[in-house]
């Protein structure tokens, strides 16, 4: 049962809320308590832009149990326009046509399910534009 753990990440997974350091403007996603650059402790909340580029990717053919019915699927590291990098699936992907540097946009999709009776877990995936 991952309800509370899931609910805590909603602002990040649904709305891409990040923290921006008041001292050095470093953006952290997910938000942090300590700035990794200047060790500052004051932040403001910002929303990341949902477009970016595909830095690298793989096609997972052997997934963990939870994702085993969805293989093969592509997962990549995307650099968003704000400079933040995230790991996410590439949805509706043409697996033969993926390439480094492709422009992607984030969309809202179902990421996983907590079994047959548990909660549904949503979040961002990337689609190649």
């Amino acid at each position: 049962m991952i309800t509370a753990r899931y609910a805590r990440e909603i602002p990040q997974r649904y709305r891409l809320e990040a923290s921006k350091c008041a001292q050095c403007a470093t953006v952290s996603f997910p938000p942090r308590l300590v700035c990794p650059t200047c060790k500052g402790r004051t932040f403001s909340t910002i929303t990341l832009q949902n477009e970016g580029k595909l830095l690298s990717y793989t096609v997972v053919r052997v997934g963990s149990d939870k994702f085993s019915k969805e293989t093969p699927f592509a997962v990549g590291i995307i650099e968003l326009k704000d400079g933040i990098r995230i790991t996410t699936q590439i949805a509706d992907a043409n697996l033969e046509k993926l390439a480094h540097g492709q422009t992607v946009r984030l969309v809202f999709r179902k990421i996983q399910e907590d079994g047959k009776a548990g909660i549904l877990c949503y979040g961002y995936k990337a689609i190649v534009v």
């Binding site: 649904y14 949805a91 809202f108 179902k110 990421i111 549904l120 949503y122």
Partner: protein, 348 residues
């Protein structure tokens, strides 16, 4: 005047052809395609459901409306395939779109007219002066029982409409609802698939209620079918809406823009709402639109819209329905379709 401030629709990329389903069950592909006037239908991806479709449609509606999401006072999603039996689909949507938490949310169900219902209630709240904006969405990832006639047509998609009073792209001039206890199609609690009364779903159900609401609307508005540029009705297949349009006095030309069913299938609660979205994508200022939905059980919600000058400013702000319907399509074979739609018994 109250009406639509922004609209958006979403169509998934996956398709399956009616002939592929026909071949699977040993039916004549030619006869099926001809009989239903339907070529293919949309299929939701494994990571898509009524909630993700609603979010996508709502995002496009917000883009067109150009409003602050926080000003929306209510969000209603009407569907026959809400992912949760208990937990409204819009609870996820409002957090995904930054509309919450000061907002009213509910899920609607009424077979295929749950979408138009959500639209009607959203419109009513704004009309009553309760709130500045309200959003009504019709979206579905409806299931057809394997081998059943409905398997050819049950598809996925949705449309969202933000109702308000300012900068309307389409005014809502009249509405009328017509309901009765007509058990033409239903699903009991706990059952996987709905059941239907075969031909009983025709005249006593679909036709009676659409004509009932349609005639009342025409009387109320003192308008005639010829006054309208566009007409759209619930589309369970290609044939029914053309027939009911004829019975009400509308022509094929008037129905053309909204007649998306041959390539989209029946998106249940998304059916006439998506048809309306397709119409708004091409409508011009001053156009009158006649819309009547139908939900089994049974009832119809009718609307008369008048398109305003604002429409030309917003049409291009988000993807158009026909564009989504016609491009980047990925065709599935029956096995892939059965896997995506979870018709295969897994070892769980």
């Amino acid at each position: 005047m109250v009406g639509i401030v922004g609209y958006g629709a979403y169509v998934p990329r996956y398709r399956i052809k009616a002939e592929v389903i026909a071949k699977q069950w040993g039916a004549d592909p030619e006869a099926v395609t001809r009989g239903l006037s339907l070529v293919e239908k949309t299929v939701p991806g494994q990571d898509e459901d009524t909630i993700t479709i609603s979010v996508a449609a709502a995002q496009y509606a917000l883009r067109r409306a150009g409003i602050d999401p926080k000003e929306i006072g209510a969000v209603y999603v009407g569907s026959e395939s809400h992912p949760y039996a208990v937990k409204p689909s819009a609870t996820i949507l409002i957090d995904a779109l930054g509309i919450g938490p000061h907002v009213h949310v509910a899920s609607y169900e009424f077979a295929c007219k749950a979408g138009s219902e959500a639209m009607y209630v959203a419109y009513s709240h704004v009309k009553a002066g309760e709130m500045k904006y309200a959003m009504g969405i019709g979206a579905d990832t409806s299931q057809g029982a394997p081998g059943d006639a409905l398997e050819y047509t049950a598809s996925a998609g949705g449309a969202a409409f933000i109702m308000g009073r300012e900068r309307l792209v389409a005014e809502i001039l009249f509405t009328h609802s017509y309901t009765s206890d007509t058990p033409d199609f239903w699903r009991r609690e706990g059952e996987n698939y709905p059941r239907h009364g075969g031909r009983f779903t025709g005249d006593p159900a679909y036709f009676r209620h659409i004509v009932g609401a349609g005639k009342a609307l025409l009387e109320k508005s003192k308008m005639a079918p010829a006054d309208f540029k566009f007409a759209v009705f619930h589309m369970p297949n290609g044939k029914f809406p053309q027939e009911v349009g004829k019975r009400l006095g509308f022509t094929k030309d008037q129905m053309e823009a909204g007649w998306i069913v041959p390539w989209m299938g029946n998106t249940y609660s998304g059916s006439s709402p998506c048809g309306l979205a397709a119409i708004l994508d091409v409508a011009k200022p001053g156009d009158l639109i006649f819309m009547v939905s139908f939900g089994s059980g049974a009832g119809s919600d009718g609307f008369i819209y008048r398109v305003t000058d604002e429409i030309v400013k917003v049409q291009d702000r988000a993807p158009k329905l026909r564009q989504m319907l016609d491009s980047d399509k990925v065709y599935l074979d029956y096995g892939q379709y059965a896997k995506y739609r979870r018709k295969i018994k897994l070892n769980e």
